[in-house]
Each structure stands twice: as C-alpha cells, then as structure tokens.
Symmetry: D2
Subunit: 339 residues, 4 copies
C-alpha cells in the first residue's frame, strides 16, 4: 500500500543519514554546544540575512509552539489564531496546558488577515478578558493554502500597530514558501519569531525556532530545558539542519513535494473531480464520491478530511520528499478506473 | 582533547545507524504507530516479563520525567525526592512548571530509603501542605551510587504501605543495573513506572517510559501529545529501542561503561587519590589537588564537581558506550605524571 | 443616579450585618472550622435533602469555578461550555490558567442541550484533541435565560451516558430557580457539582460550592488552600450562608429580583420596545434606539450590551435584592418621556 | 475555653462593622471601582508617602502571595525564601501550582540576610537551574521575629545589586513594624512590593497588595481577575482598609497585640520557663513540659509548635486585636499553678 497520509511516513534524506554516519564517533559538547548545531545556525542566519537571529533546534512542532509561545506571554496574555490553526485544533490543549487561552477567528481559507484580526481586537474587554499578545499563523496552512509576501507584511504591520507579536508555524514552511513569494529574508523581517519545519521536510526529526525580535531572545534556553526540549545529544538536530541548509536543499524539497502534489491534482482534475479548497502546496483536498474513496482506500493510504454531503467527501493527499512519480501516476490511473 | 564529561558526547551504536539506513524508505505510520516501535515495545515487554506494561518512547529524560510525573498527580499532590535528585536539582524547575512541588530529603549517598521517607511523611500536615503522592528515585543515582534489589523492594513496599507511587529515573539504568543485582523483572514488579535511558546508553536520542501500574496507563498518550513529546516520526525512537533490546545489547553497554569506569578508578586509586563517594557505575568522582585538575584539564574534558577544600576538589569522570581503553590508560598515565 | 448595572451594587441583607455584629467577639476556629460554617452547611444539606453533599464556601464566582473545575480534571482533559459561558467569555482565561482548554458550542439562547453536546462530541479526535470531561452550564444563564427541570435532567443523563461530569454555575441561582421549576433536590441529583451564588443574591461576598458526586469530594480542601480560596476567617462566609439558608430567604431574594425585573420589562414593553431575548430572570435586555439610550444614561446606570443596528442597541438591566419599586417605576416613566 | 491559637479567631474591629452598616444601601461600582476602595488606597498612599504606589485589595494572604508572585515571574524564574517561609512551608504548593520553584535557604531565626542570599546565588547554574528572580520575606516572620530597618535596607540593596526583586509578606505587618523600627515609608522604598495584612489585624478579611516598582504595576488587575481574586463587591475590602488606615488604627492594633504578647511572655518567664526563640511580636513560643502542656490544653487553645525533647515542647501563643488582659493574666496564673 502506498501512503499519501502525510509527509512524515519515510525516514530522512540520504545526506542526513550519511552525515550521521561519518560524524558518529566524534566527541561533541552536549545540549546544543556541538559544532554541528553551530554550523547549522550559521547557515540559517546566512539564508535569513540576519546575523543576530537566535536559533534553537528542538525535536517537534508542538514542542516548538508551546515552548516559544509560553516563553513570551505573561500569565494573563492570550494567543490569536484561526479556528483551523494547529495549536487550537490539533495539539491536545498544549498551549492551554501552559496556562494561556487561544482566541480564535474563523477564516474560510485558514489564513488570518488584518481585517479579521481587527474585528476580534475591537470587541476585547479590559481586565475581564485576557490581553491578546501574540498572533499565530501557519505557512503553509492546515488547509494547504499559503501566504503571499504582501499578506505577511500587511499582517505584521497590523500586529505592530496593535502591540501584538507575530509568530509563524513553519511545519510545512518549504512547501508554503515555494507555493508563494515569501523569501527567507521576509521571515526574518516580518515575523517576531517562526520555526522552520524539519520533520515534514526530509529530516528524521527536528524544527528550528528562529527568534528575530531581540527582546524575546534572552533566557529562551531556560524555557527549552524546563519544557523538556533541550536534547542532550543536540548534535542529532544540528547535523540535520546543517545538511538541510547547505545550498538550496531545504527549499528544493519543498519544490519537489509541491511538484508531485500539483501533478496529482492535475490528474485528479483530469479525472473529473473538484477540490475542497485551492492548494498549491503539498497538501491537496480532492472531493470524491464515497464509493470511489472506499475503492481507493484498498490500495492507498490517506485521510478522509471532511464530509461534504451524502454523496461525497474531501480526502487529504500529502506528498513528501520521497514521493515517487510512479506512485502519483498510479494513483491517478487507478482513480480514473474507479470513476 | 578526550572528553570524560558525559556519556552523550558521541553518536549512536553502529547497529542503530545501520537500522536507520536500511529502513529509510519504508513508509510507516506516524506518532508511534510504526512497526519498529511495536517491535521495540514487544522486546522490552519480554525482557520485563510483563506483557501488559504500557511503553512509550520519548526524546529525552526531562521530558520523560515531567510528562509522566505530571500525568499521575492531582493538582495538590507533590513528589518526594532526595536533594540531589535530577528533577529537583538539574531540570530548571520542569516539574514545578507543571504545577507540583518537589519535597526533598537529604541523603549523603543520593539514595532514598524507607526510613528517610518515613521521617518526611511523619511531619506532613493536612490541607496546609501538599499531599505527597509519588516517590522519585534514580538508578544509578546522580552521585554514581546504585540501588540493590533488596533496597528497591523495601522502598516499594514502604511506598505501597503509605499510598505512594514509586517512579524510577533510569537515565543511566544499564550502568546502575550492572553495578548491582536489580533485574528487568524487578523493575516491572517493584516500581509503578520507570524509564529506560537510551540517550546515555548508545542511542542517538530516546528514553522508554514503562508504566507498570495498570491504573496509570490509560490516556497517557494524551499527556505525551500535550507536552510536545509525541514525535511524528516515532519510527526514529522505535528503531533505536528495537536495536538496543535485541539480545543483551542494552545491558552489555552498561557493563562496558562500568568496566571502563572501574579501570579508570583503579588507575586513579593507584596514582594515590581517593574518591568523594564510592561508585561502581560509569560516573566516578576522584578527589584531586586543584593543581592537578588544572593540568589534566589541558588534555581532558571533565566537570569539576565539588570543592572539597583549599587544596582539593572532586571531579566527575564519565565513561560511555564508546570510551576507548586507550583513552582510559592515557588518562591514568597522565595523572601519574602530574602528581 | 440609580444603577441597574448589576446585582452587586449594594451591601448585604440587614440580617447578615446583624449576625456579624452579634457574633463578632465569639472566638471561632479558622479555615472553615467555625460553628457558623458548620451550621450553614447543615442548612444547605437539608434544603438539598442530601446529607452527604460536600459543601465549601469561597469568596467569589471565578474562584469557585477555577478551583472546582481544575480539581476534577486530569491535565489533558477539557471543559465544554457555550460560547457565552462565563468561564469562556468573562473570566480572563482563569480556567486556561489552570492548564485546561474550554471547548465551545454556539447556542443562541445561552443554553446547552444534549443535541448540541452530541454534535461536539462526535467530532472529537483521539489523542490529538483534549479529552472532554466536564460540561459547564449556568443557571440563570449569561443571557438571562434559565433551564427547566426537564432540560437539566436530559442534559445530566446525556452527560452520564458519555462519561462527562455536569457542573452548574449558580452565580444567579435563586433568580434562575424562581424563573423555572428546578428545585434544590434537582441540583443535588442532576449535577455532579454546582455553586450557590451569594454575592449576587444579598451576601457581602461568598459562594457555596456543593459537590454531589462522592468521587470528587475527597481532598477538595487542598485545592482550596492551593488556589488561595481558603479564608482564615471562614466565619464570615459561614455566617452569611447561615442567614441566607434560614427559612426561604435565599429563594425569596430571587423571587423579589425577578418580580422587579418583570415589572421593569412590562413597563418597557408598554413603552413600545422589544427585547433581544426573552428573560424571566433578573437580567433583561431591551432593545432601544441609541438616542434613547444616551438620554437614559444621564439618569441611570446600565451596560450597553450589544449593537443591534445603526438605530438600536440592546442594553442590560439588572435588578438586585435591594432594587426599589420606585426606581423601577421612575425608569419606566422616564423611558416613556424619552420616546 | 480561651484561644491563643491565632489572631483570626474573632470578627472585626467595631469601626469596620459600623462602616459596613451605614454604607450598606449606597450603590457603588463593582470590582474595586467603588468610592471606599479609592479612599482606602489614598489613605494608604499617604501613609507610605508614595502617591504612585499601585494598591489592590484581595481577600487572603495565600491569594495575595500567589497572585503577585506569579504576575512578575517569567516561566523559568524562581523565588528564594527561607525554609520556614509561609509560601514554602504552609501554602499547599500554591506558588508551585502557578509553575514556579521556590528555592530555600535555612535561617535559624526565620530571617533572610544578604550573606545567606549570596551563598545561594553563588551556586546557581545557568540554564539547568531556574533563574532566581524574586526574594520573599515575611515581617513579622513565621517564627515571631522581625526585621530591623537596617536589615531591610541591606537586603533590598543586595537584591538590587543582583537583579532580584524583593517582596515582603505582611500578614502580620503591624505587629512586625511595632516590634522594630521599620516605618511605612521604608516599605515603599525598600521593597518592590509587599502586602499589608488585614485578616490578622482586625479586619473581617482582606490584604492590601502594594506594588512600589512601577515596572510591575501595569496589567496587574488582569492577574487578579484570572486568579479569582477580584471581588465583585470590592466595597467590602475598601471599607475595611479605609477604616484601618484612618489615623493610627492599623499600627495601634499591632502595638496592642504586641503589648498583650509581651505581658504573656513576662508572666511565662516569671513562671520559670524559657522560649524557643526571642520574639517581640504577637507570636511567642514558650517551652513547657509536656505535662504542663496537657494541663493547660484543658482551658486554653494553642498549637504545640515543636517537640524539643522527651520532656518538653514549644507551644505557640498568639494575641489578637481583641485579646483581653484578663485572659492573659488568667493564663499566667494557671500556668504558675500547673508548675
């Protein structure tokens, strides 16, 4: 069975495994005090054109989110996100477990905008409601959509004007960037912090938290240790991000995943089906008859995302760094047969 | 420079790297729903002779401690530990950050006993002090000492009689077990839960939380997700523990580290030095003149553990799965030259 | 200026002040170990016909909610409430500050029903979303509506069948009970816990938490102390609830407030205005032209609750144990003049 | 039976009850927006000679401590206190429940000094231990001792030099101030914040949190609401502190309690007994034979504080605003008879 369930079904880029092998016996410092982590940080800083960005490597996305978000909020402060935001919808209350409310606004395409933000802020009451402090967005979003550069800048400026911090969840950053026009430098300039997803972009595990805002950098390591996010063998994370940020590796994985997803989408459209939402990233949401879904499930792994009506449902298909063109073609061929 | 700073300075057992390489392209389920994790769990259960133990793999020790401990306590309940206990001394308030007080008792050798426990319990007041609920011990301890089987059983029975849970931090479990007479089955019978340390025993990262007490097993996964401890690519953890628990691999690493540490200790003793505390595990604490320490620091990495007096301090030397006999011999030879 | 802003603008029932005066020099135990608290508890138990109910007196409603709710939840468990629920909307993230997410469903009339509950439960995912555990309702609700006995029973039975606890916020319990047909015994039988509001029903301060479910009673006092809710001079709370639960005092205050509110509503309707929502309790929400609102604000205190359109807004008027008939008549007369 | 158990066994100063009675029907704003609270705040500011102090009234001491302390700490920051400190010893883990570790140093007399503080700070490790941020002291202390002005200044300057905040728990502030030479202005200048105890100084309930440090004032009200400490009928607290801070009322209560305690102590000494620790405040700790204790317990209420040896134990006797001279004399007379 071929799985399109997600982008973490396989292991890691061969280059990462190779790097692990050839450095294995070299003694290194613990807790991120290893050479590889330092090299990774320097490579990322260069890409961002931001020599003073504080960069910390952690093992997973929920961990990145909860550790960073809780580190910048005072106890009575809240986060604003869209209702489909990963921290609100799919992290088992991880932010609330650190003591903070997530306020939500509904966005059909999973993207936050200055006007949605303003409409929420306008009805916040003093003292009897938490003070909103941080805005959370994802790129690409949980619905496969992505932000454009102008949208990111507008949102950041809106946040600035309202005393809000902007944080971007980049679990699928490469795919999101390649679908749009946001460049590394934009992330460094138009967010207070973000994380660069490794797990869903060819690493074994790992996410790189980047803190741009200098006022949020000091003491962040204490939070990492306190939340159980500071790995003794930080070298494992360092090596992977060093490999991902050599040359164009990181973004080219995103480009590859998007290409595979677009081929898949084209084939599905050719077979006569529509999509729940337009996506140019590695997550696509075709709407198929239940009967066809049942049939396809016999040979392929994927999630049924959302019931549309009696007849149809949207499924989610995700491509990865290791998705094969043959798998895509086979899927489309089988779909056409089913119809 | 050769480092005796800790047991996580190198990468992983070659068998682990090999397993990663040959399984890399095989698609697997996420979040621990992969074959390797299931295989690892079965191997561990067999060793423990405990088919119903709940086993969860996480990336680090502080994470294992905070996730498990916070999962079993009601808000007003506390943990009891010795003052040198890792959760009290060296985890940046990770347990308190989940809302719980750690009550401490002093133990010269870093080991908790029924009488120390009783003396603490006797002075607890109702309502105005937290209700003690869980006892935390480490094996081997933070001072390099270890528990004997009879001591573990006595402590567990004491806990049982007082309505307390017993939890064992096994960051250095193999070394602790090989120094004494505790067997896998004892851990399954005489603790409510414990974790098997991988990071300090030849893995890249990873610890295996074992929950023996059936009343504490249900819903534990929710805590993992909520604390950021549930890895999308759980396969990384599964593969490693599968390799460590094939045959005697896990314990034999402990035996090897202990052997290297004992050779080092013998050489140091031969050179005329005493130890802060007796240790049969992979951490030893020789007391050296400051002058000698300075000299040795030029060629070797280690921590100065504790000032003894004007003349002397204890240093900590730690051996690992990859410590070479030549390094041990070189250290001893250099020490003799220094003296 | 006469205030209809809320039901806590005045002091306390004269009987309460009298009781404070005549007991002032009598020495009593601290932390709720006083005779008055015991007497109050017995009076409440009699009303509830529930000799084993655990009853604890605290100083405020948010405190009652956060202390009780956090005491029964495991870390990964959530609360379900309507979006207008006080804990979600107006308590500054107090529940989230104890580490728990509040999941919400929308209800036009501010009341939760089995079908709304079921529709939420149906889409909860395992592990990646918190486990719902407690259902929060208010009676009367934040919109002035109230539950009927049959509705409470249906909701409780629905909760029971789904393994959920039912908790009722009784900040305005007397008003809510008098508007409908719920009796004290029903609260004891068809909720797991609830609180009886004193502050908004003629006390200086104070709410009585009643825990019906025996499994939730033990150790609750520890939570009170830990959350800062255990008053040294518990006598102040005990005396007040003793006075409120002598004879029919408590409910008769509710009846009086409702009567004043209904007179006010009748006058407003007579003056030609409609209401945002039907209410039989001490909170009413007439819809008035902005022009009229401005005029009335000169002589009366009240909150503008919600913009309706360009022309109109709903205001909130609240009656209290001390609202005078003359004030009600004057308001209506002035309103008629304004129109 | 006459109780010397504590200073909260009786009700309130008659002036407070009178003020409650004559203002009872006057409508006032909620949540501290009442005239009495504003008057109380102005009176306290005058006493402190500190027009910009932020002052907030809450219902109890644990609530004051947990709300203030948690409001100023970042997640990874800790509090330093002596082992007898109330927050460490007797508040059921209330501070830890907000996520913070309390680090302790031992002080025989229950008082923290710059040298004790320095010895703790010197051994704090970066990242792997919490960052100490706030120093907690009590005046009078839990052992009945008190700080002198010079000691307070020295401690504050030490804190300043180390980047630490100084917070003083004034549950028994009047007694502590009257025993030594600290004046109101000193509290405003040489602490970052403190609270003025009402409950143990003649109020029904209530403590006044005073935040001197302007950097800690903004948004504090949000914390109050979030922790359940913002009373709807704040007037109850306002009126009481208004009465306590008219003229010298507050301090004269302290003087009276101390006078009664000193008479009690003189009589006990005369009867031939020593004290566990020297105290000039309203808590004294005579050491009596067990036999005598048993006898005295028949007529008087008090706590056995600490076993001294086979023969003797220290008891705690506390005087209040309402302790009668006759009760003191009777106690001494009975003690002499017992001996």
């Amino acid at each position: 069975m071929i799985s399109f369930k997600n982008d973490y079904s396989e292991g890691a880029l061969p280059a990462i495994l190779h790097a692990l092998a050839i450095t294995n016996e070299i003694q290194q410092g613990g807790y991120g005090e290893d050479d590889y982590t330092q090299e990774a940080i320097e490579l990322i800083r260069e890409k961002l054109n931001s020599p003073h960005a504080a960069i910390h490597l952690v093992s997973g996305g929920t961990q990145a989110n909860l550790t960073f978000i809780s580190s910048v909020l005072r106890p009575y402060e809240s986060v604003i996100a869209v209702t489909t935001g990963h921290i609100f919808h799919h992290e088992t209350g991880a932010i609330e477990a650190t003591g903070h409310k997530i306020e939500t606004v509904f966005a059909k395409d999973g993207k936050l905008s200055p006007s949605l933000l303003a409409s929420f802020i306008d009805q916040v009451e003093v003292v009897h409601m938490p003070l909103p402090r941080l805005v959370y967005i994802s790129n690409s979003t949980e619905l496969g959509t992505h932000y454009l550069r102008a949208e990111l800048i507008a949102l950041y400026e809106c946040c600035q004007s309202k005393g809000l911090l902007l944080y971007l969840d980049g679990a699928r950053l490469a795919s999101g960037m390649q679908a749009g026009d946001i460049r590394y430098e934009d992330l460094a300039r138009y967010t207070d912090a973000f994380y660069i997803g490794g797990t869903k972009n060819g690493a074994l595990i790992g996410e790189a938290i980047v803190i741009n805002n200098p006022g949020l950098q000091e003491y962040f390591s204490y939070n990492l240790k306190m939340r159980g996010a500071l790995l003794a063998k930080g070298r494992l994370l360092g090596l992977q991000f060093r490999e991902l940020f050599k040359g164009d590796t990181y973004l080219s994985i995103g480009a590859y995943m998007n290409e595979m997803a677009m081929k898949l989408a084209a084939g599905i459209r050719e077979a006569g089906y529509e999509f729940l939402i337009e996506s140019k990233t590695n997550q696509i949401f075709p709407v198929l008859p239940w009967k066809v879904i049942k049939k396809m499930e016999e040979k392929y792994g994927f999630y049924v995302w959302q019931r549309v009506d009696e007849e149809c449902a949207a499924i989610r298909l995700v491509t990865s760094w290791n998705t094969r063109l043959e798998a895509v073609e086979q899927f489309v061929a089988d779909l056409k047969t089913c119809s």
